[in-house]
Subunit: 480 residues, 2 copies
């Protein structure tokens, strides 16, 4: 397999490319909309008694699949010294296996294309969204079972078929999963490969364009896309003084000032507020100060939560609930299953505040403890709350929320609605927003927040420090 | 506080310095030996019934301190798919707090000096060894208690008093502690500070010289020293082509060929067998494939282990045992306490095989699962076993052990006996050994081993990927 190094600008070229060998962006959109409209699936909420293959375990009422596979829903008791609420119990998804979320890339006429799939997930508001080439469980890729393997999986498991470009452990929602991680992979193929039905080759520029629209690119895709650096600065020592830098500037001459600022932030290790050693020290301190103790408990013992015929829900507060759905394909092929999902009634908010410091865009990052965090503290967006509209009215408002209330139009760099993963979450959508504040705006920053450049964030992503909500936002920048 | 960047060679200069402003190496040795000989402590094994302040909890027989502080000894049940033995139970040290291991550095006449302490720990074979400036528990540095604080602690907790150079979370022995980590810190002071009794300023060159001798530098020191890069390559873009590189070569003109090879390996990101992305991918794969499930159980339930009057030990195998010691100071001041320790009867072995690949020294690293691993897999030396002499005779020999049996003299780059931390371990010593094999020696490497340069290892150390045994070995290179 080829192992030659590239000039480090591969992904940048793809990001700057909206024209496509195969179809232009509008043709893709039509294709995608047709896939969405022609899908024959019907999803309906059902009472738990209609569950097929899922059951509540006798003594604990933990919710499990009859095969013992997939995931289970159980209870946890949480104790922490972080935040306002430091003690509570809640249901959580238990799925200790490490799965693969993988995208295949291939170069056509010098440009990287990415193989994406239009895929139905029962929890999506629009059912079909764009997913990575492969979403595989561990039993898939270790071949424990002889079941049908996901298409294209062999390119991620057989090293003779591809070159691995990116391969990182990344976490899932720490508020809903217990220490769940997936391998996020990008592999490059050199030989020609078949494009199966529902699959499509897109440039990064086209994917990011789709990300400027609501609910097209699913969370698994956004998680993988966030790991793809704009520029592989590591491969270009002294990038700022190199000819590669001039090439980039020339490419970007017609882009927006905002795109140029994002670009500068993505390559800037020098003009950052903190040195990278200081960033690591801050993270070390946060992980040392904050404590998190999580004990698994039977689902039936979770205090303040109750079971009804249709859901497991909080007795008084508008949190998520656990529901059952039946999924049916309306075509002649008989496909039907039931499964639990976590339902969210309210739109959430994921927001970064960005601001120029030393002439470079910095992101206000929060060191946050979530009950399912893999290592106590993850780097989260400035604000993240799952019940945005409720919180706005409440007295328990997280810091910096006011920046996202009625922001002036000019300050909004990005604002779309995106879905959490539709295989686990039912109609869980978040407003993804980035707000820029003026350079002279003095913002008082609590100890567990700091300003980082995009280059620093990308360096931290490689080692799994960013939570999925930050990664979702970071996946969404367009340079066009 | 000063925040100016240096030329990235600070630590290198200190490594190359054996002459000292304050005392030469022999004077230091005399001082150290005097401290060791003049210490008035007596440590003796006692039966558990003579424990003072420590007790066995009624139902579980877990071993605890009456204040609930310090640490406890409990049982774990271990299940893994790694290695030959995949299911067992054992006692383990539980100490969930993150403590500080910190060294103060200060520049005198352009050279970094490090403030080390001659400190008694009851488990040391020679009682006194060289420890970091500060070993502090979390209750020390968060000021929960009003007790006496360790000397110099304020330089690690008050940011106005020092500049933090290194601040990383690092793990302890995964075979003996459950997910224990400490902050490993190096802070630079600019103002003059008092040198208390038992403290001494040493250059890195002097410390590494002490590391070429048995049992002088304790494990906590070695853990912190391993985090100090030989060259801060990040700060010198294009180091190999820079004038800094020529300065280094000039400094090293009289050093051994071995020192030059270590130096080249420490700066070499380019001629490595694997790219850094490939290294991360290999680690990701190892963490995905290997599984570890650890359940805490009452100490009294640990199968195959039994309680006697003097120890908790394995019924048939020569593992560690839990014992009680009484510590007494023989001088007029009445100092006396009892505490548990983990006793090891056998010398262990920690060994790296190194080999030139592409002209650069590479280290054969093992991805290893240990029951107390923080994240399932850590990077371990080629060979690590706590009962070396027993294992040599056994049929269950770990891979590569034969390289460390009667090696020819020319292949031994490093061979000393070092102690594990004497506050928890009683007479636990490991042979620390590095063996170089010829470039044309074809070595078959199992999937969970790979060859890495020192530069790659140093990059991984920053993010906590190396276990304490690898770090111990890496702390020991001398460039003199």
């Amino acid at each position: 397999m080829k192992n030659s190094d590239t000039n480090g600008l591969d992904f940048f070229y793809s990001l700057m490319t909206l024209e496509n060998e195969f179809q232009d962006f509008n043709t893709f959109l039509s294709w995608f909309n047709a896939k969405a409209q022609n899908n024959k699936f019907i999803v309906e909420e059902i009472p738990f008694e209609f569950f097929d293959s899922w059951y509540f375990e006798h003594e604990t009422k933990n919710l499990r699949h009859s095969t013992g596979k997939f995931f289970s829903i159980e209870g946890i008791n949480v104790n922490t010294n972080f935040g306002l609420k430091q003690k509570w119990e809640q249901p959580v998804i238990i799925q200790p296996e490490i799965g693969i979320l993988g995208i295949i890339t291939k170069v056509f006429k010098g440009i990287h294309y990415f193989l994406m799939q239009a895929k139905m997930e029962p929890g999506n508001v629009n059912l079909v969204q764009l997913s990575p080439t492969v979403q595989a469980t561990k039993s898939n890729y270790t071949k424990v079972h002889n079941g049908k393997l996901p298409k294209y999986l062999e390119y991620f498991t057989d090293s003779s078929r591809s070159k691995i470009l990116i391969d990182q452990l990344q976490t899932e929602q720490g508020g809903r999963f217990l220490k769940k991680r997936n391998r996020n992979m990008v592999v490059q193929v050199y030989d020609s490969i078949p494009v199966e039905e529902d699959f499509v080759w897109l440039t990064l520029g086209q994917i990011r364009m789709a990300l400027s629209m609501d609910n097209i690119v699913n969370m698994d895709s956004r998680s993988v896309l966030a790991t793809i650096p704009i520029i592989n600065v590591d491969r270009i020592p002294g990038f700022i003084n190199s000819s590669s830098y001039s090439i980039c500037l020339e490419f970007m001459r017609n882009t927006s000032p905002y795109a140029k600022e994002i670009f500068e932030s993505a390559i800037s290790m020098e003009n950052s507020l903190l040195s990278f050693d200081q960033v690591l020290s801050w993270i070390t301190k946060m992980k040392s100060i904050y404590e998190l103790s999580v004990t698994r408990i039977p689902l039936c013992n979770v205090v303040d939560w109750c079971f009804t015929d249709y859901s497991i829900k909080h007795e008084s507060k508008p949190f998520f609930s656990v529901i059952a759905v039946k999924v049916q394909a309306g075509n002649r092929e008989v496909i039907q299953w039931t499964q639990p999902l976590l339902k969210e009634n309210n739109l959430g908010l994921l927001g970064f505040i960005v601001k120029k410091i030393n002439g470079v865009l910095h992101f206000l990052v929060q060191a946050k403890v979530e009950p399912g965090s893999f290592d106590t503290v993850d780097l989260a967006p400035t604000v993240s709350c799952s019940n945005y509209s409720q919180v706005l009215k409440s007295s328990e408002r997280p810091p910096f929320l006011e920046f996202f209330e009625n922001p002036i139009r000019e300050s909004i760099l990005f604002s779309t609605i995106q879905s959490e993963e539709g295989g686990r979450f039912f109609h869980f959508q978040n407003l993804n927003m980035i707000i820029q504040v003026e350079e002279d705006n003095v913002i008082e920053v609590p100890d567990n927040y700091t300003w980082l450049t995009l280059a620093q964030l990308m360096k931290l992503i490689r080692f799994g420090f960013l939570n999925i909500e930050s990664r979702s936002l970071i996946s969404s920048f367009s340079l066009l």
